[in-house]
Symmetry: D3
Subunit: 247 residues, 6 copies
């Protein structure tokens, strides 16, 4: 399945199991404790990690930390301009759904007792969208989170490592009948079913969100998608490691 003899299937000419070029650029902005520009092809998301010495009310006095996320899309990150959510006065359902997903995914890789009473907020802002913004955001936010935690370690603010393992995410879907990895916008908008997978580097599934907009997917398609996702996420872990080693 790794070769795409004709290039005819996917608009990009990619093989079904081929990721878009991935780039993870650390230190993209200077004020945040972690700041990563992640690109999955033409999708570019700025992920910053901010450390604050406070926790939400429900955690106060428990000695545990908190990890949360917010997501936004610049109005012209997309083909046609979208309304600015700040001007509309509320975040849409899609935005809330994505930022809840990012928050849960990153919390799954953190030992919050080891973190101690502080909050790390991961702001994921899409500068340019071409499909897969949430999976790029999770993959990049992990690297920003590690940078922020390493800063806390250097300052002696944490005693043992709060990072339990790596987290990365990718989308998979059935495009014109064929299971493919890492959908871009052209595929996503013309796709029967798609699924976002979040995994840890122990091979466990953290989140798995599949949606069949047209044709409901069969069990054998599901198995093929899971296999594609596991392959892609493996490559994303390698990209994360390379970026963190480069520092």
């Amino acid at each position: 399945m790794s070769t795409s003899p004709s290039g005819a299937l996917r608009p990009s000419g990619r093989a079904p199991d081929q990721l878009r070029p991935v780039s993870i650029q650390r230190g993209f902005t200077r004020h945040a404790e972690g700041s990563v520009l992640v690109s999955f092809g033409e999708t570019r998301v700025l992920c910053t990690a901010s450390v604050e010495n406070r926790v939400p009310g429900f955690l106060r006095g428990k000695g545990e930390g908190w990890v949360t996320a917010e997501y936004g899309m610049l109005p012209r990150a997309t083909h046609t301009r979208g309304d600015r959510e700040a001007a509309k006065g509320k975040q849409g359902g899609r935005t809330l759904e994505i930022q809840r997903l990012i928050g849960r995914s990153l919390r799954a890789c953190v030992d919050r007792a080891a973190l101690g009473e502080c909050t790390i907020t991961l702001d994921c802002d899409v500068l340019q969208a071409d499909g897969g913004t949430r999976t790029a955001a999770i993959t990049g936010a992990y690297v920003a989170l590690v940078d922020a935690v390493n800063g806390l370690k250097k300052q002696g603010m944490v005693k043992r490592d709060p990072i339990l393992g790596a987290v990365a995410a990718v989308s998979v879907g059935v495009y014109r009948g064929v299971p493919v990895l890492d959908l871009d916008y052209a595929e996503d908008s013309d796709c029967d079913t798609d699924m976002n997978l979040v995994m840890n580097d122990g091979g466990g599934f953290i989140e798995l969100q599949g949606t069949a907009e047209g044709h409901a997917f069969r069990r054998d398609e599901l198995d093929a998608l899971l296999a594609l996702g596991e392959k892609g996420i493996g490559e994303l872990f390698a990209a994360q490691r390379a970026a963190l080693a480069a520092g």
Copy 2:
């Protein structure tokens, strides 16, 4: 796995693959074109289907209909009183996420061209919550939708049947290391991983949303959960058919 010799595992004493008692009561209120009170054990959701002769702007003039959903929880549906969203001035992220899920799930079983230019809104309001409100809502909303569509058929408003097949939903999860079906609140709040499954009666997956709050789930656990879900949803289809036949 169908027997629970000791009853010790699940707080309710259910076998791991055992649904809670399901009840689907049609005609619960009188004004709506479809009105169903669905119970999954102590979880009770009122699902109404309202037909209106208009479509959202993006569909105007296309000859297609629309199916959408809204979800709410009465303030004291839960153990402790929650804030009323109308008084807070916004719907929370969880609410938006659930109503988007219900809407997508029901659209998946409707031929919108056959429906014609009208909108069916499924209002799912939780009167009492004990876990699984979104899966009960989808399962009940399907029956309310069928009642509303049957009304349109009787009035000659639709020419061919817009219902493509049945849709039902159930939750599954790993509770204390054991895959179980249809989590109640006691299980849900003490559960490592859980997944909501929406399927059609052709055996296809429409939505699949798994979340590992503690322990990431392994592939073999995922397979066990999918099997449990398929079994439970089969029983829910039977309950839907029985309710619709009773009418």
Copy 3:
């Protein structure tokens, strides 16, 4: 006036001074300290009483309790679907007006010093509307309040009874020139003047809200309406007592 020989006057065939059938069902849901489904004919309101160990800021440290109410209408409680207030992002003027009325009415029957520093919130949610939702809500909320207070008494949380007496409410109006009791929707929407009365069981008026949408009402009509209301509220007190005795 008690007989309706022809049944021609009122759409329902009721005599001018006849209430709709009243039903007060306690324990309708299980989590709330008081939970009552009240029906005035086809109008059905779920009234829950929730006890919380806190008081609003202006009462803190004064040793007094608080009683407040919130009101909502399910979107399809009515003939045509109304917008969900949570989705619109604010409660309408009618909703605020009604919940303020319910709160004042119930506070009038409570000795807040005897209650001690806790808040009882009465949530009145209309499942089905056919006129008179606010009067049904007050009448039902009183029963839910008594159940919640009895719970506090059993737990030894209150020393003397905070309930000063019963409270009930009914609407009256001039329909096609004739004063009638307990307007249903068909009457209410075609009525020149109507009035909501809230009374205590000592025969005192707690609230009295009359509105002449068409023809302003004369003093003799007002007197007739007050007499009808007193009669109807007497019957509602009996229904409340019967429901509370049944427990």
Copy 4:
């Protein structure tokens, strides 16, 4: 009851059936079609009537007009500064309740078919509050409305007079056991029961809103209050006529 020998009862020294000095100043501001500064003692409300050539959606094409009201209180109209509703982002329940009352009261004196397809908005803004702002607002808004309608008549915009009769309003209450007319703030804040009356000059009741915050009122008290209110409103009609004649 017209004399107050000792002046001891009411903080102001007024007799129980004595209004505060009433002043109705037309043409207070220059842009509005009607602009009245009304004073009931120290309570001062600016009432403007604005005519616009449009009607709300539900009246479009019916050939009828609309009359509506908005109410506001300047932040420091009161003894202690209140939050500005524009800054808080919503109008409170009290504000909405009052502006709905003003709108209904003024609509009751207008023949909307004679008005034709235009909207008259009555903005009632309290510059200084000392009790009775809503009754002063209704009494003043009537005069502003007449000025606006007279303008339409001069321009030939209406063919027959849309004003059906005069409307005025006053509060009454039981203060330290004695029924009194036109409560000021000192009385209002220390009052067991109070009632707002809106009447037309044919002697009919348009609105009647009584509230017993402490002691529920008996039927004989209610009768005494209604008599006081009729007397006071009679004097307010005289003040309105004098102001309109002065023009």
Copy 5:
């Protein structure tokens, strides 16, 4: 430039360097610690100063006071009715911009350490608008502020005078090619460039906000405008002193 031979230039017949008649009426309402009705011709703004014994969070415990402002326009202060911001649920950009300007301007004349831990809020509400509402507001608010501070001095609440000097404001603009002072609405709406100047009585500039809507202004025009503004503000200082002396 002080004479206007023909009166032809300005709609009002004023000379280019002539202010409108200025009136500053203290004690306009009774509850506020300072209450001033300021008129610049037909522009009338009610400015109240309210003293409260609290400071914003960022100043707590620092022994300093705070001065802030809020601005509003009654809906029919203008030629055509504007929407009520409280009803729309938010203050517009223009409103926020103006109230921020008023707040900064008044803070510039207060020694906040001498004021001590209290907040003075200047509410500037436009009763009638004819251009220059923000400059009238600043000029009037200064007098209300002085009255409030004098009250604190009389009560011994401040030890040394917190007022550092007077503040006043005026608009200037290029109208049909000629620099003019204190634009009214007819000029403002037909003006190429205008500027608002806020100065202290030491001759220093506190705020200077120039906008060229049509023709960008040249340096020599800017110089002429500054000279006109300085002249006008000198006259406003005299009016403020006269008003404060009258007390």
Copy 6:
């Protein structure tokens, strides 16, 4: 004044009349009709120009176009994380003030009749803030606007050039008694007075907004600031021209 012998004055070591390094990168993102990343030193703002075939209601049918702007700051563009305005549910006063300024500034260089019935929206989003974000935004947005207009010209959508001339902006201020050009954050937060200047390339002033937070500025200081600003803006025009020529 062009040399800084000691480098002691400004934290950055710049001469008083020295801009920070300016960079204007076109085509930074791919979907917008114009997309510019502008940097004034460490301040980085992404400016996109979006063309839409519609105009606001007040311009419909007039044959004129519209130019408007929106401004935002990513939560962690600053030293400490700021709340996300979309999550708070409203844009702050500072944001609205800045986006109104950007919109007015850019409209000043456009012949809206030549543009025809379309809207160009300039979204200015601050990726990293170090003082002067609004002046950088205006300077960069001009380049994005020109790119968008050139696109319209290439498509034959405009007949004559709607760009009337260039617009750029810079801040100036008195820092520790010395007038300086282009304040960075360290200077801005410790500055007595500062001013933002917007000019066109004909030497005219479009906007001029000076604020004295501490010491009010004298006329001679104002003259010095204007001279510095004119010098700096001249250099910014050169940078804009170079960027546009590079294309």
